[in-house]
Symmetry: C3
């Protein structure tokens, strides 16, 4: 993907400052709000059934994250998601912990079946479970997948009809035909709770200003991963890494992204 | 306002260490707890209907924040607020997102109509909406107001019968007659989620030890803004700014506040 | 306690990476997740009644924290706790604010009476209240105890039938006969919201790989306190302290713990 396309996407996030409506988990909700701001967008967290349809109407993207799900929260996700679909607002689903309990796996499928999800962003275990090709999840952490990563993601894209972004040492973004590989990132990201959730928020910020959700998701993961590389350089541990991660994303320029994104694809066209 | 009055208020927060009971949002709840401690007070977050009346009875102030409101949470706010009013404990209301959805605007008015609110702390859009003079809010961010800031705040004070604190490049604090302008602060505060919520927590800590809620609110905003100025000086981005913001407020001395507060007023007496 | 035992416990947390299931408060939930990772374990926060029994089945420990309790959350705690007891998974209870309201004190006793709690971790006021020997709590902060700390903890251990860990300038860990004193820590820990909650998470990580919950709790508090000492050395205020606290715990080696733990006991055998 031409670097100028990636740069253009980040510049558009910064200039449009889209509203990204989150219905998300209570563990990483603050970092999700702040990473959305660092990316250049504006977060709002609202999950009362009385207001989610009205709130999402002003948004550029809706991020649904089942990290600390409850029945009431899922009902609000469905109200907001249906409204977003009517208005053509992209819905990003983070199926946190799908595979760890039946409730999470079933809820992920309920949302996928009920809504037109633009991007499904998950770790390897979650994506393997939803692809039906085998994946294990303990708590909210991936225990890995049985098959080949790219085939797993493509299978999941076919099974769900969405763009699928699978985060890992190399992120894989695929829809039925096209596949992108994103090499940016750092192992320190695994030692901070919620980097997966944050990746979904950044993915939402980029989807809000894009039409091609495969390219925008790959660009988002490249930008987030690049900030992670730069943050890890001087970090002593997880919280100095976190401080640097948010600072680095906030000062990342479109030029930085064009020059340092390690993004291959589209393969398999 | 004489610097020694401001210094006295901060010294009283530090010596009395008042309990500030929050019923607040799930996005910035941790920063609200910690900024209360940095100011010198003690936070408690409790919203079960079974205990809010008992908990607020031990508090010096009650901070109500509708950032991620739910019907159940608002009911708890009303129980706690009514108890606080009976005991003469100041109630601070942060109408987060009033103007963005009908549910938020109506809830803000429901709380204002049902409770004796001591201080209404909001951004320009929220205050313009509640003043009825025109304001726009997207998500939880102000889109600005139609009229003159000082007149908007005075109109809102008349409409609500409270002290109104409108945060912005220059914070405006007003009740029906008196107006205070607070020049402390830094644009970096807009790049961190929840600085408005934190301002309400510090406002609660100062109200807890004061009688004149207009002066105490102006002093609180000056102290918080001064910490923001100092924090911004060495910050590379939003999270290094946040770290410094909390550290700077915790080491701010009454003498610092007396010397460096940029607080004008009371005007319009 | 021989330093090599402490070192062995920390090494086991790092090698086994146990899953620590939390049903906890919304104020410090993010720090509890991240301190669990810094200790070397894996956190999961799940409180939907539909999934807590299944989720805890994969866990090494269950941490219950009533910091922002609700009736629904307590019901989920009971479901998860009973399942954990059947499977022999240690339950850690943090009775946050017991003594501040009747709802919290009664809920702490309801959980203690309904579940086999392995470790009760609280501040002095909470433990004094639950021991029945006198303790005061304002909000979630200890107002101190009437009696001798060691006797209070032993009395609480007898009254509750659990290992009791009382945090303070010197932490006291006791069961009916054995008593351990832990001297590690720093006053800065009192200026950050949730260090008590975090201590319970680390206690859970250590209990997950141990059989002797008195020794594992003492080792956990020594490790957490040692990280606090090291973090305080260069901290300017509460948030630079927090960043260093998480970093220091993540780089703490078993050798560090063996050499610098200030742990006395078992006394009173």
């Amino acid at each position: 993907v031409d670097g100028s396309i990636l740069a253009g996407l980040l510049a558009a996030v910064r200039s449009h400052r889209p509203l990204v409506h989150h219905i998300t988990n209570s563990v990483t909700i603050n970092d999700c709000a702040n990473i959305t701001i660092s990316a250049g967008a504006a977060p709002v967290m609202a999950e009362a059934p009385e207001e989610v349809a009205e709130m999402v109407s002003a948004a550029g993207a809706l991020v649904l994250n089942i990290g600390t799900l409850s029945q009431g929260q899922v009902d609000a996700m469905l109200i907001a998601g249906r409204r977003a679909n009517v208005l053509g607002i992209p819905v990003i689903l983070d199926p946190v912990g799908a595979g760890a309990t039946r409730f999470r796996t079933e809820t992920a499928w309920r949302l996928l079946d009920s809504l037109d999800v633009a991007v499904l962003k998950g770790n390897a275990g979650e994506i393997g479970v939803l692809a039906g090709t085998g994946g294990s999840v303990r708590g909210v952490d991936s225990g890995g997948i049985a098959g080949d990563p790219v085939e797993t993601v493509r299978e999941c894209a076919r099974a769900t009809g969405t763009v699928v972004a699978m985060t890992g040492p190399v992120d894989v973004v695929a829809e039925d035909r096209r596949v992108f590989l994103v090499g940016n990132g750092n192992p320190m990201m695994d030692r901070l709770s919620g980097t997966g959730c944050m990746a979904a928020s950044v993915t939402g910020a980029f989807a809000a200003i894009a039409d091609d959700y495969a390219v925008s998701s790959a660009a988002a993961l490249a930008a987030f991963g690049l900030a992670g590389e730069r943050a890890a350089a001087g970090a002593r541990g997880p919280y100095s890494f976190r401080t640097a991660l948010f600072d680095e994303l906030s000062v990342l320029t479109p030029g930085d992204l064009a020059e340092h994104a390690r993004l291959e694809g589209p393969h398999g066209v």
